[in-house]
């Protein structure tokens, strides 16, 4: 017993203390890719290396439609390795309220050899995507994000926010980061957010996976058991879009093919700060 006390005292407080200290980030962190749309002169090589078809080209006559879907992106950086028009930022907080705000589409006129002659239209939604990231809380610290959640949750749910986590098919990568929220470093409980064991106690479902065929019913039942008002947050590339697994004989893909989703948190997996950012966005929506 004295050992426990001494150790706790000597360890001191390890919880992040933003905004007094700067947010944790490494210059090597790979966040969302940034595309220089006007200068992009050939999307084909990036599309070829992208493992999840987050970057996709569709050619018709002399034009090419290029889409970039952040919900599918696993932040691997392979596109940026092959294409100078793409740069990996270290922005990880990318949550959005609508699936289509994560998709940017542009049209290019083509040269004979298939390279882009000029940008004809778009990128649609790309600017919106930027709004979603920058205007919300992107530069906010964990501390202020947490405080905001707490006050909004107070208005919405009375006192605190109870979350039921549902793994509907994930590889367990997202679970590692979600568990991280409960560590003393992020200590999500100090904002009145609790992970609960039963959906009947929950205000929010935090759902990971591509939803497998075998988990579809369990997810629906969990959703039905959650009292209203209830929020659903889809976590990770797989939860948002089906990710690298997509839709196949064993998976249904994105969470929103099975139950309605309020907020999408891209990433593979999203880190704890990205998770908090998305949770806040979900509460903002209804508050």
């Amino acid at each position: 017993m004295p050992g426990i006390l001494t150790k706790s005292l000597s360890t001191g407080i390890v919880t992040t203390r933003y905004p007094d200290t700067p947010a944790h980030a490494s210059p090597h962190t790979r966040g969302r890719p940034e595309i220089d749309w006007p200068k992009w002169n050939d999307a084909r090589s990036a599309a070829a290396v992208c493992p999840t078809a987050a970057i996709a080209c569709n050619d018709a006559a002399q034009t090419r439609t290029v889409t970039f879907d952040l919900a599918k992106c696993v932040f691997c950086g392979l596109c940026a390795d092959t294409d100078k028009a793409i740069r990996m930022s270290n922005v990880c907080e990318c949550a959005a309220r609508h699936r289509n705000r994560l998709v940017a589409t542009a049209q290019y006129g083509l040269n004979e050899d298939g390279t882009h002659r000029q940008l004809i239209a778009g990128p649609d939604a790309a600017t919106a995507m930027h709004d979603a990231v920058s205007s919300a809380t992107r530069n906010d610290s964990i501390e202020s994000l947490g405080r905001q959640i707490q006050s909004r949750a107070a208005r919405l749910f009375g006192r605190s926010l109870h979350i039921r986590e549902v793994d509907a098919g994930s590889c367990n990568g997202c679970e590692i980061e979600i568990v991280g929220l409960t560590s003393p470093v992020y200590d999500i409980e100090r904002f009145g957010i609790h992970f609960v064991a039963s959906p009947r106690h929950a205000d929010m479902l935090l759902v990971t996976g591509p939803v497998t065929r075998n988990m579809e019913l369990a997810l629906k039942k969990t959703y039905d058991a959650t009292p209203e008002p209830r929020l659903v947050v889809a976590v990770g590339a797989c939860g948002c879009s089906g990710g690298i697994f997509g839709v196949n004989y064993a998976t249904r893909g994105a969470v929103d093919t099975v139950i309605p989703v309020d907020v999408y948190i891209p990433g593979c997996p999203p880190n704890p700060q990205a998770l908090l950012h998305g949770i806040l966005m979900a509460i903002e929506r209804t508050a």
């Binding site: 932040f75 793994d167 994930s170 590889c171 367990n172 409960t182 075998n214 369990a218 797989c238 004989y249």
Partner: protein, 534 residues
């Protein structure tokens, strides 16, 4: 038989097999020094496996099928045995005719392949003859009669949603016996699976497992993706072993291509594998304490884990080491500042971890709950072919880092901790020993780090090559077996996560324990549902 291309260590075994089973092999193929294939008829399987296990201390590490009807007119079954002491793999390939799609079960002789044989039955529609429990395993009971890994089954097939029954559990009856069903959605932040406890009073009489809730068609999906994309899919087989699975996959492709990653890359791979081991072991030490209500220890463990994840991010751009693996080497080199951070981590962790262990060992109420809880007896572990941490805690001293060296493990001496007791306490102890070993290994690798290139180019791999890739992940041994197809694709990718091997041992370890001890017993195995279900 031509023994050219067989390693000197395996040569006596191959000669012995030739003598013993004279004239019964159709062919002997040696794509690599330590990987030898025998082609024979199915009736050779029991004798071949029994002989190797008895005389050469081999273990049947995996059994799987491959739909080779297009090229050979038959299905192939592969029985792959590891010879740990001789550092090699012997594989028996036998045909199964599509006209009589059946095969004889080996489970009665070698219980370790129970689940794997049933997987073959489910996925390939090859009927098991003589299996003690031939019920469905990989496909739930409600699935229509489809065999997803057959070539004529399309990955995109849309199946009707679930209805009916997932699994008919075996009845357990008697006075005072009742059933406790748990899952698939569990109380904590963990993966889904269904457990059915049959209890009489407090003690567990029988535990039945229903897994494969997170089956995602992964092995089938590998057959569609271009090989380089397979690396990213391998990262998503089990998130906590992203780097180990991706590296096992790369290793298989490199072996098929006849290439080897450069020295520097092999060292960096080893460091990343050790980092993966570190963060998982540290987290497990804490989680085991939580499950016996010693939360303070877990808080310290989570704090240390976060430090490791941040260094992972600094070294590879991702907290789970994703994106680092690639064919022919690794993607990112480390500069002086990054190496300094890594060294700093090792120096910080050493005293921190010691102090955490002291905290746990100083808590008699914690040790009381861990000692003699969830015992997996060595004989049972051996029968079930238990691998990794759980195997080493039950007297089963295997570690591929030593026995089938990969990455840069051939350049260091690995001490493999072995205990005989097989309870939760000793599964914890294996982790503690291994964390200390990992810290030392990382420093050794960094001190030895040579210059030179980070990767070599792996071009298009020619079709119809077969190869095993292997890695000792933190949980245990991981194998990927591939057969290549034209256009830089795969015809088959078999993924063997250690969890698949170890689940049945959990059922044994909980017998006679009380239900409230189940969480800590389960945690001490910490098996991956996604790695099992794929």
């Amino acid at each position: 038989m031509n023994l050219f291309g067989v390693s000197s260590e395996l040569r006596p075994v191959v000669e012995d097999l030739n003598r013993r089973f004279e004239g019964r092999f159709d062919a002997l193929v040696t794509p690599r020094l330590n990987e030898v294939y025998f082609h024979a008829a199915m009736d050779l399987v029991p004798g071949f496996c029994a002989h190797l296990c008895r005389k050469w201390k081999a273990r049947l590490m995996t059994v799987f099928a491959d739909d080779a009807r297009a090229g050979h007119g038959v299905f192939h079954l592969y029985y792959a045995l590891v010879l740990d002491d001789l550092h090699g793999l012997l594989v028996l390939r036998v045909p199964v005719s599509p006209e009589t799609p059946e095969f004889a079960a080996l489970t009665n002789a070698i219980p370790a392949v129970n689940w794997q044989e049933r997987e073959i039955q489910d996925w390939f529609g090859l009927k098991l003859i003589g299996h003690p429990n031939p019920r469905r395993c990989a496909l739930h009971d409600d699935w229509p009669a489809v065999h997803p890994l057959r070539k004529d089954f399309n990955l995109d097939t849309v199946l009707p949603p679930f209805q009916g029954e997932r699994h008919k559990f075996r009845p357990v009856e008697g006075e005072g016996v009742f059933q406790v069903p748990v899952g698939p959605v569990h109380a904590g932040i963990i993966e889904p699976g269904h457990f059915l406890f049959s209890v009489a009073g407090e003690p567990v009489l029988y535990l039945q497992l229903r897994l494969f809730y997170v089956h995602k068609g992964t092995e089938k999906l590998f057959e569609r993706l271009p090989i380089p994309h397979g690396v990213r899919l391998a990262e998503s087989i089990s998130g906590d072993s992203s780097f180990a699975h991706a590296t096992a996959f790369c290793h298989a492709i490199e072996r098929a291509a006849g290439a080897q990653a450069p020295q520097r890359a092999r060292m960096l791979r080893s460091v990343c594998l050790e980092l993966e081991r570190l963060y998982n072991h540290v987290a497990d030490v804490g989680a085991i304490c939580t499950d016996v209500a010693f939360v303070t220890a877990n808080m310290h463990a989570m704090r240390l884990k976060e430090q490791i994840l941040r260094v992972n991010e600094h070294l590879t751009g991702n907290r789970l080491l994703r994106g680092m693996a690639c064919l022919g080497g690794v993607r990112f080199d480390w500069d002086a500042d990054q190496i300094k951070r890594l060294n700093g981590l090792v120096n910080d962790l050493r005293p921190e971890f010691d102090s955490l262990v002291q905290l746990v060992e100083g808590s008699s109420s914690t040790l009381d709950r861990l000692d003699t809880t969830g015992i997996l007896k060595p004989e049972v572990a051996r029968d079930l072919g238990v691998v990794g941490i759980a195997g080493r805690a039950s007297g089963f001293a295997h570690d591929l880092r030593r026995d089938l060296p990969h990455a840069a493990y051939d350049q260091v001496r690995i001490r493999v901790p072995v205990h005989q007791v097989g309870d939760v306490r000793h599964r914890l102890q294996v982790r503690v020993d291994e964390v200390r070993e990992s810290l030392a290994l990382i420093q050794t690798f960094i001190a030895k780090l040579p210059g030179g290139p980070l990767r070599i180019e792996i071009g298009e791999v020619p079709p119809d090559r077969v190869a095993f890739g292997y890695v000792e992940g933190w949980r245990g041994e991981i194998f990927h077996w591939i057969r290549t197809a034209p256009n830089n694709r795969l015809a088959r990718c078999r993924v063997k996560d250690p969890s698949l091997q170890n689940w049945p041992a959990l059922s044994e370890a909980v017998l006679d324990n009380i239900v409230p001890d189940f969480p800590v017993i389960n945690k001490s195995f910490n098996l991956s549902y996604s790695g099992t279900d794929r």
